[in-house]
């Protein structure tokens, strides 16, 4: 928690230096991560990270800065930086407007002592190692517990506080057969260590890795494709900026002026829920002090909301989506927890009706391979090829290529089973997505 005296002194300093509407954003992240390898502790990392963002208006111009060393001397130097940046940036005044929301506090239930967690992880790793003779090594059996504390203060003694915690378990394996090596991992977010099923994670990682041992590319062409739920969740996580007002204001993205129009098939509904029970993030206010709320981004194919923040020039409605990546960055548009509404049939049931299909179980290179400006994507992928009457054929060293704007219009079906994206700070949950055709690059 931010020291009360330091907070008071910084506001006084700001006032003395001519900084008006000063706002302090304090973020503290504490975490413990332990990883087991060869049935003993391989690494243990503990951190207690805190920082303070100081913002305000100087001579009619808005600017911000931050400090990591939380003392008055650092704050004094930071205020000098803020004044210089305000004069150079020429950004319009921003008024502090902290909403009236209740403090939220989601805690990991009954924390177990670290030594007990370590014992259980060692036991789980031993069992995972015995799951398949082809396992070369269990490279990861880890547990991470994170607490995020966010506080927002204005000079009028306004104050907002959110605290949320989550824990995450991960298992990674390397398998080998006939000199061919393959790795895979699986993870689970949870509210409690005991709820993480390490053996199930191990089984999934081993199944995914061994399935690809004999994989090979298929010929280039268009195929019916199912993007497995984990792949769909990761892809959607990366393209969320196409729904941000920031993106549209820069003249990129294609949804400017499209609210109320059909942008996807009726089956597709995308929701943001800051209090989603399964989500990693729990926020009652955004980093500008606006109350967050559950909202449809796309509902039954119709674009319902463009998410925005107060700094957007053309924002007519604040959606509570002004977030910082950390105390170091200024507020940008962001989301908390998102999910795609699921369908009625399982991925397996959908597959049974298809005579031919490529099931994409993993896609990589999303950072570089997705062009958020145009919607084009081309990603290295793996999975399996299924043709009725034939055994499944594992596939790797292929690419999937297409355009997201088009893809939304071509969704044939969504599965009942869902999975989450890999980033815990921006949680996305999605079912598998069946597409009638998608370009596969291969042989």
């Amino acid at each position: 928690m931010l020291n009360h005296q330091l907070k008071t002194n910084i506001f006084s300093l700001c006032k003395a230096e001519g900084i008006e509407q000063a706002e302090l954003y304090y973020r503290r992240t504490t975490s413990v991560k332990v990883n087991i390898e060869n049935e003993e502790v391989d690494t243990c990392k503990q951190s207690d990270e805190e920082g303070l963002n100081i913002s305000g208006n100087y001579q009619g111009q808005y600017a911000a800065t931050y400090i990591e060393k939380l003392d008055e001397a650092s704050a004094k130097a930071a205020i000098t930086y803020l004044k210089e940046a305000a004069q150079g940036n020429q950004k319009p005044i921003r008024n502090s407007h902290l909403a009236k929301v209740n403090e939220t506090h989601s805690k990991v239930e009954e924390k177990q002592p670290l030594n007990e967690i370590i014992k259980e992880l060692i036991a789980a790793q031993g069992k995972i190692k015995d799951m398949d003779a082809r396992i070369d090594s269990v490279t990861e059996t880890s547990y991470i517990q994170t607490t995020v504390e966010i506080q927002l203060y204005d000079e009028k003694e306004g104050c907002l506080k959110d605290t949320y915690e989550y824990c995450k378990g991960s298992v990674g394996v390397v398998v080998e057969e006939d000199g061919i090596r393959q790795n895979a991992s699986a993870w689970e977010l949870s509210g409690k260590f005991e709820k993480i099923d390490y053996l199930a994670l191990g089984k999934k990682a081993v199944t995914d890795a061994t399935a690809l041992l004999k994989a090979a590319p298929i010929y280039s062409g268009t195929y019916p494709v199912i993007l497995q739920n984990n792949v769909a969740a990761n892809l959607i996580s990366y393209i969320l900026p196409i729904f941000f007002q920031d993106t549209l204001e820069k003249g990129t993205g294609k949804y400017a002026g499209k609210i109320g129009t059909k942008v996807a098939t009726e089956k597709f509904t995308l929701v943001e829920d800051p209090q989603l029970p399964s989500g990693g993030v729990k926020r009652s206010f955004d980093d500008e002090g606006t109350a967050t709320n559950k909202k449809y981004i796309i509902q039954n194919g119709i674009l319902k909301n463009i998410v925005n923040r107060s700094a957007n020039k053309e924002a007519t409605l604040l959606t509570g989506n002004g977030f910082r990546e950390s105390y170091k960055t200024n507020v940008g548009t962001g989301v908390t927890n998102c999910y795609v509404e699921k369908g009625t049939r399982t991925t397996e049931t959908i597959l049974k009706d298809l005579t031919e299909c490529v099931i994409i179980t993993d896609a990589d290179g999303l950072f570089a391979g997705i062009n958020v400006n145009t919607g084009d994507f081309s990603l290295i992928s793996s999975g399996y090829y299924r043709k009725k009457g034939q055994a499944d054929r594992p596939v790797k060293q292929i690419t999937i290529g297409g355009n997201f704007y088009q893809l939304f219009q071509e969704i044939q079906e969504l599965s009942q089973d869902t999975a989450a994206s890999e980033s815990e700070e921006q949680y996305v949950e999605s079912p598998s997505i069946y597409l009638k055709q998608l370009m596969i690059g291969g042989l």
């Binding site: 951190s47 930086y81 150079g88 070369d136 790795n183 990129t252 570089a368 370009m439």
Partner: protein, 459 residues
């Protein structure tokens, strides 16, 4: 900065708590970030990072903790807490720290002494040059970065060194529109220099180059997917080798046998025309350091020589596992990360062919003029990277531009398929994101041809 006395106490505490090696990393970093969207400042701030990272080894295991609260009480407390997983032993000793070995500041103009407005002015010049290049250019987006990173590394073997890393870079993106199709072009010059860097380079030329790339790709057809010969332009195209084999040659992958290059020293792992080097000591280069983040002097490491695997990039911890010497390759983004083996400036050494000879020998294929970013799975060697600017090659000549291409492959296989290496080495600047955070790296190569690889596309 943390006093020598407190630093010594932390090291002694770590050893007393069961560590057999301990290290303290102190960082104080002034930094500026300014983003301009055309003439308007989108974001801009000056700030200071400060914190202490503490790493302790016990055999080949390690613990890590960090804090920006540098009080003696806090640092000793977090050291004791994180060492709880070790069994106490009285075998290890902590050596008294040597006198501080100070590194000279090589840059001429300190960023903290340059007025903010002067930084905006160099950005304005680039925006104007890009906007004036062609009417199709609708937007220039520039990110200016500078830092004065002052670090101290101390360890229980008595090492006590400091380094000053003054770095600056300008990420220049241009967006051009033709017939409703908006595409981008990008360049990102940077160096381990002070503000004098912007007086030394041709800012207008960089603005125009980003704009040229955007204009070239706007309205281009989609790339056809399939297998083909690929010629990659000199410069930052070297990122392909950074992904394809660089990461797999880092000890963090090699030491535990999780790399396709583990236990293969002395073997032919690439075509004989390939020599791959990582050199963190290139004077004033973007990916260079005086000492690495473990206090070892950076140096030139030949990784592959004429196709034969000669060495790895090794940090202190993995040096223990591999029973080899560290190579000055221990790096971290900040005090918030434990260091591990990472690349610095990685490049393919010049070959014998001219650029013209390489094109003349390529009947059909893809010419990759610039790339954006990529990634690799070191266990399998599967890599991918996205192409920013590319052209068809037909009858030995550069043809029409194509967009949406991705190059994929297996590192070991692609190394074997390099059949022509040009004589025009150039090194570009970029970032690498991996286990110890986002690091500034150089990636380079001469013009290179890969006889056959998989090109992913949208049609």
């Amino acid at each position: 900065m943390l006093t020598k006395e407190v630093t010594q106490k932390i090291l002694e505490t770590a050893i007393a708590c069961g560590g057999d090696f301990a290290e303290v990393f102190v960082e104080d970093k002034y930094n500026t970030t300014i983003i301009k969207n055309n003439q308007e400042v989108e974001d801009g701030s000056v700030a200071r990072d400060y914190g202490v990272g503490i790493r302790v080894f016990c055999g080949t295991k390690y613990v890590y903790t960090y804090s920006s609260n540098d009080s003696e009480e806090n640092l000793l407390q977090i050291t004791k807490e994180v060492c709880q997983v070790f069994q106490k032993n009285n075998k290890s000793v902590c050596t008294t720290l040597s006198p501080l070995e100070t590194a000279p500041i090589l840059s001429e103009k300190q960023f903290s002494e340059i007025p903010y407005k002067q930084k905006l002015e160099v950005m304005d010049q680039v925006v104007a040059a890009g906007r004036n290049y062609d009417r199709a250019v609708k937007r220039m987006w520039i990110k200016y970065l500078d830092q004065e990173q002052h670090i101290i590394v101390a360890n229980s073997e008595g090492l006590y060194k400091e380094d000053n890393r003054n770095k600056t870079r300008m990420l220049i993106s241009s967006y051009a529109e033709k017939d409703g199709d908006t595409q981008s072009g990008y360049v990102g010059p940077g160096a381990m220099k002070g503000f004098e860097f912007y007086q030394e380079i041709d800012l207008d030329a960089y603005g125009r180059e980003a704009a040229r790339g955007a204009c070239a790709m706007a309205g281009a057809d989609y790339c056809t997917a399939g297998q083909m010969s690929v010629v990659v332009e000199n410069g930052f195209g070297g990122l392909m080798f950074h992904e394809a084999c660089g990461h797999s040659l880092e000890a963090s992958s090699v030491a535990k046998g999780n790399s396709e290059f583990s236990n293969r020293l002395g073997q032919l792992v690439a075509s004989e025309v390939v020599t791959l080097v990582d050199d963190g000591s290139i004077p004033k280069a973007w990916g260079s350091l005086g000492i690495d983040d473990e206090g070892n002097k950076t140096r030139k490491n030949v990784l592959i020589e004429n196709g034969v695997l000669k060495g790895y990039m090794i940090d202190r911890l993995n040096a223990r596992i591999m029973q080899m010497e560290p190579t000055g390759s221990g790096r971290r983004e900040s005090y918030k990360y434990a260091p591990t083996s990472r690349m610095t400036n990685t490049y393919i050494a010049p070959g014998k062919h001219t650029r013209e000879e390489i094109f003349a020998a390529t009947n059909q294929g893809l010419f990759v003029k610039s790339i954006s970013a990529g990634s690799v799975n070191p266990v399998t060697g599967d890599f991918n990277f996205a192409v920013a600017e590319a052209y068809e090659i037909k009858n030995g000549k550069i043809g029409k531009p194509v967009k949406g291409a991705t190059l994929i492959g297996k590192g070991g296989e692609v190394l074997q398929r390099v059949d022509m290496v040009g004589d025009n080495l150039s090194i570009g600047q970029g970032y690498c994101y991996a286990g110890s955070g986002a690091l500034y790296i150089g990636a380079g190569q001469p013009t290179v041809r890969i006889s056959n690889m998989t090109v992913g596309g949208i049609k």
